[in-house]
Subunit: 126 residues, 6 copies
């Protein structure tokens, strides 16, 4: 795994934004696919999250909306709900995004997103 | 939460059609997103299920088909399998809808829908 | 292409249910993939549509619901709207299924399904 | 169609946020499904867009993200790109949301979203 | 259930390709939907897997790619990861397919596919 | 746009694999989103297509399968059908992949994929 500047700034961004939930994802990939672990740091975090056109809260809110609407990525949705809460997006704003998604992706998507939010909030209160 | 006529007839429709499975969904949302709980009653049940163009069995059969095909809403699929059985759709008809979905959404969707049916039938036999 | 009994009854079912719209699909496949043309007749129409557990109107209504919710199969949705109208499902019932789908798959799915219905109705009035 | 307060404030919100693109959607539904036209105004615009937890720019950015990721709602994505530009979200911010979606929904989703943005920008420059 | 030649060769193909994981799927369907069990053998395995245009490893690699990208069929993805490993596709090749899917379906799809691979590898090492 | 080694080898890979169809995609993005153009070259082509674990024909066959199954990326599917044909995958093998997808993603996905193949073949015969 080449430890380029891009990789290093990706790792710092991952730590800052996703915190422990992000590190756990990388750890879980280390043996089965070190290359996916590498590129998950290098492309999303080294290349894309490093950009400044959107603020971090807006990045996380749009990602939470997209993952809720897709409905195929509940583990990643929970990581990004943690990330959004970590950087100051409120629980009420996240619940509102889920409600908004009822219009665009239907009530099941909104309900499953909201249950994911509930589980993340419970994990953080422990 | 405004308790309008629309909300009240939605609540009655929810009780009649989805029964205990529907009430559990609303209960689970109460603290994390009372507004999603409200609108789940008001729009799907107060506005849409209240309409008479389609019979209740046809409503439930089309919803079961759609949720099976989408493949992203297993908890909601199980609620609607309960609802369909509650209002007289037979287990054989639901299994046949899943088989039909193998044509339109593929065998994995049909298989996952049929496993959901199996779990609902087992829950009801307890 | 083996012209088995299964294939022959599939061809008859295709003619009866989908009519000209179905024949056009098969014709369009003949050179590029005669085998997909064969299996489209043999499995959906020879095996599955031949079954009697669900009435033909209920088959078409559940398929219309599923294709509307999936949102990835507009040409096939239009074929099945034709088929539903051919066997006596009313335009109002199809519009109602699309409205119901706003709850489960969101308003864009319902809107795109309804526009497909509008186009089919216009084609049939020519 | 009941012209309730909810409907009336929905109509005003639709005009304000989506402008001509939104009115065109409603017009196109009037004959084929007046009830879907009604509920499109009443639920998304009368109920949900009326809420104040999220600012209008954040609503539109999260909706643009979700529709780009879903990939099944290009006409609605274009309406919401218009809406986002109408209320001051910049073209660069929308392009950045599409780039962010390459991470979560893949490059085809990001490319198709960006082409939709390009078409909307061209329409507005006429 | 008619035990035609098509069914019999389907059953042999299922045993050869999917092995125990495939038999378990059929067993689980036997009571709830014997007809879906029958057609799962007859169409995918009797008709399609019997064909020789693609080698078995290429069939399994394309199916693994598709199920990873869809993200709605994790149990079936695991069956096909077993099948791919059974016929000589390496763990590294499967991990590489998941990495490739990060480009087309996004990182969540690639991550969930890779976790499924990890679980299958762990099951086989027991 | 930083013209790194990674970008340069990405550009060479794009030219070699996708040819004119790939260059057209990049050209179409140049004004609206030069950064998406950059990262489309850098990540998929500079990072991922550069890897050697899978042969180029297997890469293209798995991508064709995935895009066919997803059903939300017809323009990209056509680019990759061109790419597959360019590097020696036969028209019959691609048609067979679409037929195989009827099992996993349903007949509409298989039909739409096959129509895309038909259009690409017609374009190449001009």
């Amino acid at each position: 795994m080449e430890k380029t500047d891009r990789f290093n700034r990706g790792w710092e961004n991952l730590l800052e934004i996703d915190g422990k939930a992000g590190v756990n994802v990388i750890e879980s990939l280390k043996e089965i696919s070190p290359d996916l672990a590498h590129y998950t740091i290098a492309y999303p975090f080294g290349d894309i999250y490093n950009r400044k056109t959107l603020s971090n809260p807006i990045k996380e809110m749009t990602v939470v909306a997209a993952l809720t609407a897709m409905g195929t990525a509940l583990p990643q949705l929970k990581v990004h709900i943690h990330a959004a809460l970590n950087i100051g997006v409120t629980q009420e704003e996240i619940a509102e995004i889920m409600l908004l998604m009822s219009v665009y992706a239907g009530f099941p998507a909104a309900l499953n997103g909201t249950i994911a939010l509930k589980e993340v909030v419970a994990e953080r209160e422990k």
